[in-house]
Subunit: 307 residues, 2 copies
C-alpha cells in the first residue's frame, strides 16, 4: 500500500527526459478516459506519432554497465555535432573516462590528463553555438506554461528549447539528460572532446552560455548514479574512481544487428500534447490538487524501444 | 583547462539544497567584488547569519556509506514531525531498507515487507499536512522571481516554500533534497514510516498533494547515487538490491561527541540575498549571459560544518 504514493509518476519510467506541450491542451483519442495518465496516452498513441532515431545523429557510449544513447541536435549545434562525429569516428573516446560527478548538477566525461592530453584530428576549437537563428531551426511547438528563464519555451523536434523572438534566437535548454560541451572561459573554446550531461535540477542559468548538442534518450540511470567525485566541482581525485568508457560509436557505423532501436514521440503530435497535459493536470485517485502547470524540464518526452 | 566550464557552479558544492532570495537584490558587504560568486558571499558572511540545527528537529540516518542528516520542519508538518520522532525513538527504522530508487525522481526508504510489516507504537495514520495556514507558519522571505506552480514562492526559515495569499495557505515545495511522506490514495494515510527524498528534477506537481516534512541538509550524495530499481516505480525487485539502514536517531538523543555540527545560512539574512543574487546574475570570466532569474529550486541554501 505504501507503494501507491508516487504511483502517478510511474508512467514517467518510460519517459527519459523532460519536455513541453502544445498551446492548447490536446483532445485525447476517444479510447482514453477524461483524465488519462501518461501511460494511457502512450498506449493509445498512433505509430506515426513516433519517429525513429537517425543513425547519423545517434551516438552509443558503451560503459561497463551498458549502453548510453545520445541523440545529437545538429539543428542547434551543426558544427559541434559534426566535430563530435569526427571525434567518434577517429575513436577518440575509446578508453577515456567518466571524470566528474557533481551531486545535483552534472556528470562529465573525456580525457582526465590535462598535462599530456590525447591528441585528435578533429577541430581543436569550434565556434560557440549557444544560440541559433529561429529561422532555420525548424518546427517549434510552444509550451503555454510560463517560464522564468526565457520569453518562450517549447519543443523543437524532441528537444526542449527556448526562444527570444525579439532577438530572433533559439537555443536548447539545460533540462535533465541534456548533453553540453565543456569549454574554457573563452566562448569559442569548446570542441566536443569533453561532454557533460545534466543529472540534477535543471541548471537553466547555463542556457546560452554553453553549446548544448543533444540529449540522452536511453541509459541515464547508468550515468546519474556515478559516485560523486570528492574533488572540486565533483572531479574524481583518484584514477581508480573513474569509470572507463569502453567505446563510443555512431549508430550509422554499426551493423543493423548491433543497433538499438528506439523511437521518440513526436513533440508536434496530438499524443505528445496529451502526455504533457496528463503531467500538467493529473487525474486518478491519488491526486488531490492538479498542478495546472508544467515546467519545461518537468514534462516527459516519451521514448520507447521499437518492436 | 577543460575543467573551467562549470566552475561558476563550484560554490554550490557547499549548498546541498535549492532555495530562494529576497525581493531586492542584496547589497553585498563592502569586501565583496561587484559580482561576487556564491563562494565569495559565503566567505564574507557574518557568524550571526547562520543558525545551528535544532537537535530535536534533526534526524541522523546512518547508512553503510555514512550519515544522512535530515532537518524536520515542524512549522509545516507538526503532527507528522512528531510521529517521525516517535518512530525514531522506538527505533522503528533500524534495520529497514532503502526500497526504491526511481531515476530522475525519488529515493524511498522503509519496510519492504507489505505482507508482514514491522509493527510500531507510533500513530498509524496522521492527518494530511499538505498545507498550513500562513498565519503561524513563521517568517517568509519572498522570492521576486516568478514561479509557474504557485502565486508566491520564497523561503521559510531555510526551507523552500510557496504561498497562496487568497487561500491563506503555505506549503513546502518539492525541491531537490526535500523529504516527503509516502501515503496511499486517501490523503490521511501517511504516518512517516515510509519516507522519500527528491533526487531528480523538482516534481512540483506533488506540491499540496503529500506531506513534506523536511529536507536533507547533509548526505544527499549517499542517497542520490542509489542504483535505480528495475521494478515498477523504481522499487527494488530483489532483497539483495536494498541498502540496509543501520540506524536512525534524533540528534538530541546522542551524546554531544556523536553529533554532527552543521549550520544553515539564515534565509532572512543579507548574505542569503547575496547568495541567491550571485546565482541569479553570475559574474566572472566564464559567464557570457546572466540568467536574470533564479528558480525556487535552483538557488542554493548554504550549509556548512560548524568550527
Amino acid at each position: 500500500m505504501r507503494h501507491t504514493p508516487l504511483f502517478l509518476r510511474s508512467a514517467l519510467g518510460l519517459a527519459l527526459l523532460a519536455g513541453v506541450a502544445h498551446a492548447a491542451p490536446a483532445k485525447p483519442p476517444k479510447e482514453l478516459p477524461p483524465k488519462p495518465s501518461v501511460a494511457d496516452v502512450i498506449k493509445a498513441s498512433k505509430a506515426d506519432e513516433w519517429r525513429p532515431l537517425d543513425p547519423e545523429n545517434t551516438v552509443y557510449m558503451e560503459l561497463p554497465a551498458g549502453r548510453v544513447i545520445i541523440e545529437l541536435a545538429p539543428a542547434f549545434a551543426p558544427n559541434t555535432a559534426a566535430n563530435i562525429r569526427a571525434l567518434v569516428r577517429e575513436r577518440y573516446f575509446d578508453g577515456l573516462f567518466i571524470i566528474r560527478s557533481q551531486d545535483g548538477f552534472v556528470v562529465q566525461w573525456g580525457d582526465p590528463d590535462e598535462e599530456n592530453p590525447r591528441p585528435f584530428k578533429a577541430k581543436k576549437t569550434v565556434k560557440a553555438e549557444f544560440t541559433v537563428p529561429i529561422k532555420g531551426a525548424g518546427a517549434f511547438t510552444r509550451l503555454p506554461d510560463r517560464d522564468g528563464y526565457a520569453p518562450q519555451v517549447g519543443h523543437a523536434n524532441g528537444f526542449p528549447a527556448a526562444r527570444d523572438p525579439a532577438k530572433g534566437e533559439t537555443w536548447l535548454t539545460h533540462c535533465y539528460g541534456m548533453v553540453g560541451v565543456a569549454r574554457d572561459n573563452d566562448a569559442d573554446t569548446g570542441n566536443g572532446s569533453q561532454l557533460y550531461v545534466v543529472t540534477g535540477q535543471a541548471p537553466r542559468q547555463l542556457d546560452r552560455n554553453i553549446t548544448v548538442v543533444g540529449r540522452v534518450v536511453s541509459g541515464m540511470p547508468l550515468l546519474s548514479v556515478m559516485p560523486r567525485g570528492t574533488g572540486a566541482l565533483g572531479f574524481y581525485e583518484k584514477a581508480e574512481e573513474r569509470t572507463p568508457i569502453t567505446s563510443v560509436r555512431m549508430a550509422a557505423d554499426l551493423p543493423e544487428a548491433q543497433r538499438s532501436r528506439f523511437e521518440v514521440m513526436r513533440t508536434d503530435s496530438a499524443s505528445f500534447q496529451a502526455v504533457v497535459e496528463a503531467q500538467r493536470n493529473r487525474g486518478g485517485p491519488w491526486t488531490k490538487v492538479a498542478a495546472g502547470h508544467v515546467d519545461l524540464c518537468n514534462a516527459p518526452i516519451p521514448v520507447r524501444e521499437q518492436k
